[in-house]
Every structure is written in structure tokens, then in C-alpha cells.
Amino acid sequence: MKPFKKAMLGIAIGATALLGAGIATVQAESQMSAKAEVGLAAPEFKLTTIDGKAISLSDYKGKTVVLMWFSPKCPFVVKHFADKDNQTFNTMYNDYKDKDVVFLAINSAKPTHAYGDVATNKSTIKEWNFQWPVLMDGDGTVGRLYGARTTPEMFVINKDGVIAYHGAIDNDGSPKGPGDVNYVRQALDEVLAGETVSNSETRPYGCSVKY
């Protein structure tokens, strides 16, 4: 059970099937009950990056995947790019990219919102030299599927396709600056070492996802 989290769209559960590495397939366009919970198979999705490249979660079968719900102007995201020499997400990318870890940012804001505006996202990605591919989820299907409510909200999916961590990026829920304990790094270190994640759920913080 996820504290403060629960599927809000109990509308229709689409056809769900398990693929090889435990990744659940769902109908992308239908509104689903979110089943993105620690210990369960990560729901499959297919989205297009802001540069037009189609990406499916199942493309990364056998790899560790980090998902981040992204917003270009949210203060809780911005604070992680304020220190040019130690940008939380870019530093993490550089430290783990050669360890079979894939990083994907998802923006579930509607396109009419300032946070979902393509031009704003592109200029911010360039300004921050953001290394993660940003997947646009303008109708919010994948955000709802995962029950994402904040930016930055984080998931770590292990190489077996199972969600190993869900929650905040770190232990400072204020918009002032990064915390001194990065939960995602902790989870990644434990997942890569083949260990059970000791702190598998924390309370996500941030701006609301602008569905």
C-alpha cells in the first residue's frame, strides 16, 4: 500500500498481460487503475520524447530504469539545477549511465499549461543541459497510470521490471535546495548490488502534476 497514494481513476482496467521480464502491458489510451506500486511489475507505456523519438518501457528490458516526473518551471525541480557544478539529476545520470541504468523524464502536464508547453520545455532542457530524455505525456495517461502527483516524483524499476522504489528524490521537501540524503541514489546502489531496497517508499514532494 502506498501512503498518501491511491489510484484515483477506478474506471476501467484494460487488458493486462505480463511480458517476459515482468513488465505489465496495458492499453495506453484507456484510463486505468494505477498499479504502479513497489513490489509490482512496472506498467508498460509508450511515449514520444520531445525530440520525436518513440520510447517504450519494454525497450529497456533487463536494465534498471529511473523514472522522474518532470516540470521545467516547478521550483522543486528548479532547485536541483541551481548548483551548476552539482545538478542533482545530471550528476546522477553521469554517475550511473555506465552501470546499465536508464534515465527517463516524463512530463504529464497538459500542453496548454505553462509547464507542458513544448517550447518552454525545450528551452529549459537546453538551458540546464538536462541529460535525460524528456517524454511528453500531454494527456496524462502515463502519469495517471503511475499515480504520479508531483514533480519531481521518482520511480526506480529493477532489471526484472519490478518497481523497487517510489517517492521523493531526497529528504528536503522545501523548494529551497536539495537534501543531504538522496533516496534514489540509495535505491540504485542497493538495486545494482542485488540487495533489497531498504527505504523503498518515501513521500513524494513537489509541485502538483498539471493534468
Binding site: 502506498k2 501512503p3 498518501f4 491511491k6 484515483m8 521550483p75 499549461h113 509541485c207 502538483s208 498539471k210
Partner: protein
């Protein structure tokens, strides 16, 4: 039942001079503020400019306070101590100063004497089942303190906040304790004070609350509507679906709590109670959690 302690909704609404939200948003009914706010209005003001703070002495109920007024730009909101699914709570810090801003601890009589008390927040519902607890209009925080009146101009309150509408902006500000509030501020202060939650005994509310089998169960006989706001928690203890279960047009409310609540010694929050005659009350709720010693025995048969 005529009860002087139950406050009239109409009186509170009249006293809330700067309320800008429609009634549906203030009572938590309907779909929240974002449904009627412009989605991408050009934003020119900074977070510092959208909220202004003032601090004045205030005495009520035999206590003295620093009343910290948060003057919020209409259409924007700041957050309660438990912000809910998103957002961040404001913070306050007091600094002794002399006229030049230098710290002068030695002869400062000012001293805070208790936790800051915040009026009842409002539910703010957004698409995606996101629920926040906010102040969608100007509001006052009450800091219990001694030596307030002697500290005018010599103590500065610093405040940080996150202010949101369709977008969010961090902000901060400072204010020295003023001598007296303006008439408008006094009306706002009194209206906010009326919305401070109190014990069920003080509010004269027949509150029956218990926690069993992972659920917080609340019953207020005669209530027309109940709205529950869980206290902040550092250890993941909280309702799993306050969006749906935190409000009921009934005299009973039941909220499923996270499995971490098994380790909680206390389950707490505040409750907004509306009665059929329009009266309302704001009540603290605190019941022993599963980890409290003897909790099961103590609360067996409370309901």
C-alpha cells in the same frame, strides 16, 4: 440546538473580508480552484510580491500572540502545515534586532511559548486526484509568545512560503512587530482566530473518534458535513485516500490509513464540522494509534 460555541458560517464569511474563493472551493465541495482559474495567465509578480507579511500583537483567551498576517494576492494560495499531495508549508523565524538590524539578545523580553497555531485550511482539489490543504485567501498564523508588546519594532519575523495558482513560486519576507493592527487586519485576525481548531470539549462538539483495523472512524451526531485534515507526518502515516474519504455529507467519516500507521502512537488531525442549521466548528482530533500502549483496550467500544 442553539449553542453559542458553534460559530455561524454567515458570521465567519462576513468577517473574512478578503476571502476571494467561491463558497464551493472554501468548503471543499466541487472541483477546486484550478477549474476556474486561468491556466497560463502571464505571471509578472514574484513570489515575494504575491504574499506580504505583517506582525502585530494579539491577545485572546488569556493568551498573548504574535499574529502574523499573510496577505495573499487574490487567486493564489499558500499551504497549511500539512500541504497535502503537493506544495510546501510556510515557515516562520523570529530574530531579535535593534534599530540597525543588529542582534541584541541580552535585553529582549520576547520569547515564543508554544507551537504556531494555524487556522483551518481548505481542500484544494486538482485533476489527477491531487488534494492539497491550502489557504486561498489572506490568513493569520498565531505564535504564542511572551513580551510581545515590549518587543514592537525590536523583533523581526521572517517567513518563507510557496505560493501557487496555476504555477508555483517560492517567496519570503520580513516584518517587524508593529504596535497595533489596522482595522482591516484586526478583522482578519479575529476571523482567523475564530477558525483555530480547539478541543472537542472547548468547541462543545460531541466528537466520537477511534482508530481500528487501519481506519480512523469519526462520528459527530447531528453533523451535516465533516471534513478531515490529517496532521503532518514525517513517517508516512496518513490517509491513503483523503481525496475521497476526507469529506462526507454525513455525520460519520471513515479514512483508511497507510500501513505505516501500525507504528503510530497517535493518529491526529483537525475536523471541520458543519451542521444543518449552518453552524460550524473546528475541532482537534487525536486518538491513540496502534503503537500506543494499551490502545486497543482503551478504545474498545468507544463508538
Amino acid at each position: 440546538m442553539a449553542n453559542p460555541i458553534w460559530r455561524s458560517s454567515a458570521a465567519i464569511a462576513a468577517a473574512c473580508l478578503v476571502c476571494t474563493l467561491p463558497a464551493s472551493a472554501q468548503t471543499g465541495k466541487g472541483k477546486g480552484m484550478e477549474s476556474f482559474l486561468p491556466q497560463t495567465k502571464e505571471q509578472t509578480k514574484t513570489g515575494d510580491e504575491l504574499v506580504k507579511v505583517r506582525a502585530v500583537p494579539y491577545a485572546a483567551g488569556g493568551e498573548t500572540f504574535v499574529a502574523v498576517v499573510f496577505d495573499i494576492e487574490p487567486g493564489w494560495h499558500i499551504y497549511w502545515q500539512n500541504p497535502g499531495d503537493s506544495g510546501a508549508a510556510p515557515s516562520l523565524e523570529f530574530t531579535p534586532t535593534d534599530d540597525k538590524g543588529a542582534v541584541r539578545y541580552g535585553d529582549m523580553p520576547f520569547q515564543t511559548t508554544g507551537s504556531t497555531r494555524w487556522p483551518m485550511p481548505e481542500r484544494h482539489e486538482s485533476a489527477g486526484g491531487i488534494l492539497d490543504f491550502v489557504y486561498g485567501h489572506s490568513v493569520v498564523a498565531f505564535v504564542p509568545a511572551g513580551g510581545v508588546t515590549q518587543s514592537q519594532g525590536r523583533v523581526t519575523v521572517g517567513a518563507d512560503w510557496l505560493v501557487c495558482r496555476d504555477v508555483c513560486l517560492p517567496g519570503s519576507g520580513q516584518a517587524r512587530i508593529q504596535a497595533t493592527p489596522s482595522e482591516a487586519d484586526l478583522a482578519l485576525i479575529q476571523a482567523s482566530f475564530e477558525r483555530l481548531p480547539t478541543s472537542a470539549f472547548m468547541a462543545n462538539v460531541d466528537l466520537r473518534a477511534s482508530f481500528s483495523e487501519g481506519k480512523l472512524n469519526i462520528h459527530v451526531p447531528g453533523a451535516k458535513q465533516l471534513i478531515f485534515f490529517p496532521d503532518p507526518s514525517e513517517d508516512m502515516v496518513g490517509p491513503t485516500d483523503a481525496f475521497h474519504e476526507g469529506i462526507a455529507d454525513a455525520d460519520k467519516l471513515s479514512l483508511q490509513y497507510s500501513h505505516e500507521s501500525q507504528n503510530a502512537k497517535v493518529i491526529s488531525g483537525v475536523l471541520e464540522v458543519h451542521r444543518a442549521d449552518g453552524a460550524e466548528a473546528f475541532v482537534q482530533v487525536s486518538v491513540p494509534g496502534p503503537a500506543a500502549s494499551g490502545a486497543a483496550e482503551e478504545h474498545k467500544g468507544t463508538e
